[in-house]
Structures are given as structure tokens and as C-alpha cells.
């Protein structure tokens, strides 16, 4: 199988994993409010998220420098600007303390925490001996 075919195969697998996770989340999480055993369900769904990331990792390993750079630049600048624009929109049209605005703020904080964690690992792994 050619590299190109493998690349698209793993790309499709990553999307399929994300779609499957969406179906699992949709089937197990109540439409409103927390269900019974919410803590257990949260842990299980975190595992599902881990599987989605693992599928994405398999695809990522088949991307080259240029493709990774494209993803990183687009997610950082495009993703952050899009998220900020939506955050401002929700705050302006629904109020700063509305449920939807607070949900978006939580998501933004979670994104920052994820960023900080990965950045820290990256920083530590890149350390060498200083002289």
C-alpha cells in the first residue's frame, strides 16, 4: 500500500473514531442534567476521548513536516480566533453569565489547561544540558 493510501486510510479512521465517539456520547449522556453514576460515565467517556486521540495520533505519525506545520498554525491561529470570536458573540447576545456563555468559557479554560500541559511536556522534553 502506498504512503498516500495509508495516510488517507488513517485520516478516515481518525474521523470514524471521532464520529463513533459522538454516537457513544449521544447514546449514554442524558439530554439535560446529570444521569446516575455521572462520575463513572465521565471516566468512561474520557477513555473514549483517549481512543479518539489515539486514532488521531496514528494519522499524525503519517503526516510530514509541512502537513504538521499546516495543522499547528491553522489550529493555533484559526482555532483560537474562531473560539474567541464565538465567546464574544455568546457573551454579547446571550449575556456574560448565561449558561451557554459559561459553557463556552469552561471549554476555553479546558483548552488552555490542555495547551499548558502539552506545552510543559514539550518544554521538558526539549531540555538539554546547559553549559
Amino acid at each position: 500500500m502506498s504512503h498516500r493510501m495509508k495516510y488517507w486510510l488513517f485520516c478516515a479512521m481518525a474521523f470514524a473514531a471521532a464520529a463513533a465517539a459522538g454516537i457513544v456520547i449521544g447514546a449514554t449522556v442524558p439530554a439535560a442534567g446529570a444521569g446516575d453514576n455521572a462520575a463513572l460515565l465521565f471516566l468512561l467517556l474520557l477513555g473514549v476521548c483517549g481512543l479518539v486521540m489515539a486514532a488521531g495520533w496514528l494519522w499524525w505519525k503519517r503526516t510530514d513536516d509541512l502537513q504538521q506545520q499546516g495543522q499547528l498554525i491553522s489550529w493555533y491561529w484559526g482555532g483560537n480566533f474562531g473560539a474567541l470570536a464565538m465567546l464574544v458573540y455568546l457573551a454579547v447576545f446571550f449575556g456574560r453569565h448565561s449558561d451557554i456563555s459559561l459553557g463556552a468559557i469552561y471549554l476555553f479554560f479546558a483548552q488552555f489547561v490542555g495547551f499548558a500541559g502539552v506545552w510543559l511536556v514539550w518544554r521538558l522534553r526539549g531540555r538539554g544540558q546547559s553549559e
Binding site: 502506498s2 504512503h3 498516500r4 495516510y7 503519517r62 503526516t63 510530514d64 513536516d65 509541512l66 502537513q67
Partner: protein, 75 residues
């Protein structure tokens, strides 16, 4: 960074897709490098040089080195 990837590729009778597949990288990357729009990482540069069995500095022209007048001056 100026390079002679296109010349080396054509000398081997490969198109961009073939070369990309042989190097396990994307065709888009080959196109960008040949157009001097992307400088590859050092490992990728060495992989390409090894594929064509030439030193890296034959494939990618070092603009910081003292070179003949037809070579680019340092940026």
C-alpha cells in the same frame, strides 16, 4: 531555500507523486520545496539527500557559505 530537488527528481525519471511515495511524505511537500516555498526539517533534508545519494548541500544550497557568484548571497 534554493534547491535542486526538481533536477534530481527528473534525472531519476520520477514524478512528484512517485517521489513523495518513495520518501513517505506528501506530494504537497515536494511541490512546496521545489517552489522554494518551504524549507524541510533537517531529518527530512537528510532523508531526501540519502535517497538521491548526494550530500545535503548538493540538494539544498547553503546561502551562508562562500559560494561562486551564481549562488545566492546570505539572506
Amino acid at each position: 531555500m534554493k534547491n535542486c530537488l526538481r533536477d534530481l527528481r527528473k534525472a531519476q525519471g520520477l514524478n512528484q507523486a512517485d517521489l513523495a511515495d518513495r520518501l513517505a511524505i506528501s506530494r504537497q511537500t515536494i511541490i512546496a520545496i521545489e517552489a522554494d516555498k518551504y524549507d524541510p526539517s533537517l531529518p527530512m533534508a537528510y532523508r531526501m539527500a540519502a535517497f538521491f545519494d548526494v550530500p545535503v548541500e548538493v540538494l539544498f544550497i547553503n546561502p551562508w557559505k562562500v559560494n561562486p557568484p551564481d549562488r545566492p548571497s546570505p539572506v
